[in-house]
Symmetry: C2
Subunit: 204 residues, 2 copies
């Protein structure tokens, strides 16, 4: 039916969808052994890639760590508290950021042929890479939940070690790592408090 | 019905939902004059706040610019190319990041009373604020689409000017700005190319 895939504008989604994506979703700290197929990882990427980034620079790079051999390279570089759950999760995703994303702008942003030159300054380029790769990390986690997966993001790892082990000789640096799979309720934190609207927002 | 609001685990969402959130959603450059109620802004915040952040630090702060007076303070600080559309959009959202988020960790992460001290180093704290506020910016935009709204994110503005005008005397700095409302197809860019899976990802 055409209706099923037409873009739905001004159409608030149901409470059950909002619960799956936001209000009832939880960071998981334990995982079933159910694997995640490469087909599903590709589907996840194909949602993530459409999220908006500055001049479509899409600086995020995704290393899906799934094999025992690859896990043996990654897990020792993680903080002790993150090792057991990361070993258990069927996939550990290293989300990297390409600091030389501007080299790809002639392809990614073809209607502005000079866009590459807007990012000649290295510090400004790093800032844009960090901001936009992190935005893409946000899209990635919500997209995973939209596909029925659970996520567990982590910053506790040795960045220089992960750079050397997985991104040596490239312009990519690690941003953060996400465990991915089908979570269990084991070791679930009690839901932590959130700021009220008044504490975090203002309408002017 | 209890079923409607129960957390839906391992339940891939429909193609029409994925289209609304990702595959058919577009950055909007022109806006209808339909307003966005404060009630809807609060609903949007109440989805965004549940997205995962490191030690639940939720460093993003949201300034919803809606009145002519507030717009008159913001628009001149934006790049020329962003001014007309930002004037037209019913809401401009300044997404800020609180560099002193650690002060709030005794409240936000109560089960680890020492969490505040993990962020004594200012450079590491700035990095965490930037990463996690940007993640929250990603959640915010997908949540807006989930509520039937359109978004138009922008990095083209004077950060020092926005800091001075909206965050003077605070530990908050601007991250990026999002136009929010109900978009039109006017000035819509042609969809730009995205990296293939092989170009941006690898399975190990």
């Amino acid at each position: 039916m055409a209706f099923d895939t037409a873009p739905a504008r001004d159409h608030p989604l149901s409470d059950s969808v909002l619960a799956q994506l936001f209000t009832e979703a939880r960071t998981r700290n334990a995982w079933t052994d159910r694997p995640v197929s490469e087909d599903l990882l590709r589907k996840l990427y194909d949602l993530t890639k459409f999220g908006p980034t500055a001049v479509n620079n899409t600086p995020a790079r995704f290393v899906f760590v799934t094999s025992p051999e690859a896990k043996a390279r990654l897990i020792p570089l993680m903080s002790e508290g993150n090792q057991t759950k990361s070993m258990q999760a069927p996939v550990n995703v290293i989300i990297g950021m390409d600091l030389d994303f501007h080299e790809h702008l002639p392809k990614l942003f073809p209607h502005a042929p000079g866009a590459k030159d807007w990012f000649a300054d290295e510090a400004a380029r790093r800032e844009s890479a960090f901001r936009n790769a992190s935005l893409q990390g946000g899209y990635f986690m919500i997209a995973a939940r939209a596909l029925g997966l659970d996520v567990g993001p982590m910053s506790g790892f040795d960045p220089a070690g992960v750079k050397a082990e997985f991104f040596a000789g490239t312009s990519v640096e690690p941003d953060f790592i996400v465990n991915l799979g089908y979570g269990t309720d084991e070791n679930l934190f009690p839901r932590s408090p959130r700021f009220t609207f008044e504490e975090a927002a203002v309408v002017l």
